[in-house]
């Protein structure tokens, strides 16, 4: 379940990172604080999942041999910790959905992406609460409380912007157009997710699609927005094949740990 934990951690970290780019630059003070809170929640979730992934790795090192090959990571001799996983893997060793790594865009882009992901996480964590893996169930339970709020907050913003001014409506449509092709990946299980399904740890994310879609449609209806015709689905993130955005993000995120190997901060 190492990869499964890692996948969820990567999603949470990268989206938290993107949202934190708004800190100090939000559309007004109140919303600056709101988006920073969501960033904090997500980074908190990431830490929990990374800690659990590190624990699993340390317990059974040989089983995961060869999975992470970046030279920086290979140099970690002792037990892994959360930061080794976040800071020392290369881009192709990240397992996040492509959706979370895309640049922060404008407020409409940020809100729409948040809404898509939060709705997905709401389904995911609701199921994982009942998972046979008790540690994952506990993290899911704690995270779900936060995610429920993210869904509510971003959903209201989707409606506000969709039904606000002409400009906000236009920006929402453009955000949806850009983001839609990345949503399909949420519902296509990776091999390690399928394995987790077999073990009763995870419910197949493909089963979320219908209910996810219904909730998106409900919000879009209120917002006067339309779900795009289904088109091509961009995927690969969960297998380590990413967009160009991720390399830049990691170059920034990891720079201190990479420049000063083995230091404490």
């Amino acid at each position: 379940m190492f990869l499964l934990s890692l996948q969820m951690a990567d999603d949470a970290l990268l989206l938290g990172h993107r949202n934190s780019e708004w800190t100090g630059h939000g559309p007004n003070l109140e919303q600056d604080i709101a988006i920073s809170n969501i960033a904090l929640d997500l980074i908190g979730q990431a830490r929990n999942f990374y800690q659990y992934a590190a624990f699993q790795f340390n317990e059974n090192r040989t089983a995961y041999e060869g999975l992470i090959n970046s030279p920086a990571f290979q140099q970690v001799a002792e037990n892994l910790d959360e930061d080794d996983l976040a800071y020392l893997r290369d881009a192709n060793e990240f397992r996040n959905h492509l959706l979370v790594e895309l640049n922060k865009g404008d407020w409409a882009f940020t809100i729409t992406r948040q809404f898509f992901i939060s709705l997905y996480q709401q389904h995911l964590y609701s199921d994982l609460q009942k998972s046979s893996d008790r540690q994952i169930a506990a993290i899911a339970e704690k995270s779900l409380k936060e995610v429920n709020y993210h869904v509510r907050w971003s959903g209201e913003w989707v409606i506000r912007l969709g039904d606000g001014t002409e400009e906000s409506h236009r920006r929402m449509r453009s955000a949806i157009d850009q983001l839609w092709q990345y949503t399909g990946e949420l519902f296509i299980p990776a091999d390690y997710q399928e394995k987790a399904v077999q073990l009763g740890i995870l419910v197949n994310p493909g089963t979320y699609r219908e209910s996810w879609m219904a909730k998106v449609r409900a919000a879009f209806d209120q917002a006067g927005l339309v779900i795009p015709e289904s088109g091509w689905t961009q995927k690969g993130g969960k297998q380590g094949i990413h967009t160009e955005h991720l390399g830049y993000l990691l170059a920034e995120l990891q720079y201190l740990q990479r420049s000063y190997p083995g230091s404490s901060w």
Partner: protein, 318 residues
């Protein structure tokens, strides 16, 4: 006649101040008291908001997940502090929009310290320890300031501010116990932030024209130089724990005074930074203006949506 009435009000007002009774928004107050407060509170609010930028720089580059979360929380707190303070100023009859305009147009000032750049991770530590330390020294007495909403905002702020200083010191402490490069990074940050922090207390008392009136009105409770001395005394001890040096060859314990003596302050630099010639003045304001302008369509959309909802509700009732 009217003049006499005002004089009487003024003496009642001063009486209340002398008795340490808080002035509240609806109480009568001299116009100059109101203006002084607006100036001071809005400057303070602007400082919090502009102050988010130099530290915000390092959110995406923080060296561990714990540091990253902590830094976001800290910078977010500063937004909160700005918000409390803008709200306090609003009770005096100025809107936040007006204050923000004043900041963007350069009419309003903010603390000059935030016009210095954050060049390394250690700067985040130095800001926490020195800049927040100086800020706390300035702010704690303001919890007893005479204007109620300001004092209440300050109580809340001071409570949150303590974590800021501790996280900063902890960053430096970790670096000071690290490898050679980290130690050098730590000393370099202290070297660059020390004097600007000492200047944060403002011009010396003999060059500070507003101090006397502000003290009489209990808007201010200690003079700039008193607070500065206290700050130097505390830091001169704390720096020993870090095993670092403060960049002042004249720093020396003076037994007779019971204080540390310190070297001359470069006031020319201080006034230049205030006048807009600091290393980052233009970038800071440009960043604020950009966020504000790019947020305009968002604010308008939310207002438009709220209006539509209200219209619908009214229509439904009618």
């Amino acid at each position: 006649m009217e003049k006499q009435g005002t004089i009487q009000l003024e003496s009642v007002f001063q009486d209340r101040i002398d008795q340490d009774i808080r002035i509240e928004p609806r109480d009568w107050m001299p116009e100059k008291y109101r203006q002084t407060l607006i100036r001071q509170i809005s400057q303070h609010a602007h400082s919090e908001i502009v102050g988010m930028l130099p530290e915000g720089n390092w959110i995406t580059r923080a060296p561990s997940l714990r540091r990253k979360a902590t830094l976001i929380a800290k910078v977010q707190d500063e937004a909160g502090h700005g918000l409390y303070l803008y709200s306090a100023a609003e009770t005096l009859g100025i809107s936040r929009a007006e204050m923000i305009d004043q900041l963007h147009s350069g009419k309003a000032k903010y603390s000059s310290i935030f016009n210095y750049p954050t060049l390394s991770w250690a700067d985040i530590g130095a800001i926490g320890w020195l800049v927040d330390g100086a800020a706390i020294m300035n702010q704690v007495p303001l919890c007893r300031t005479s204007y109620g909403p300001y004092a209440r905002a300050m109580v809340r702020i001071c409570k949150e501010e303590s974590f800021h200083q501790r996280q900063g010191f902890e960053i430096l402490l970790t670096l000071s116990r690290g490898n050679k490069a980290q130690k050098a990074m730590c000393q370099d940050a202290i070297n660059r932030w020390w004097w600007p922090s000492v200047m944060m207390f403002g011009p010396s008392d003999d060059a500070s024209p507003h101090t006397a009136q502000s003290m009489a009105w209990k808007i201010k409770r200690f003079t700039n130089d008193e607070l500065r001395q206290k700050f130097v005394d505390i830091c001169a001890d704390q720096v020993k724990i870090l095993g670092m040096l403060l960049p002042d060859p004249d720093l020396k314990w003076n037994e007779a005074r019971g204080h540390f003596d310190f070297g001359p302050i470069n006031w020319e630099e201080f006034w230049q930074v205030i006048a807009g010639n600091g290393p980052c003045n233009k970038e800071r304001i440009a960043a604020r203006v950009k966020a504000h302008e790019e947020g305009a369509w968002v604010r308008e959309a939310a207002s438009a949506y709220a209006e539509k909802q209200q219209t619908k509700q009214t229509a439904a009732v009618a």
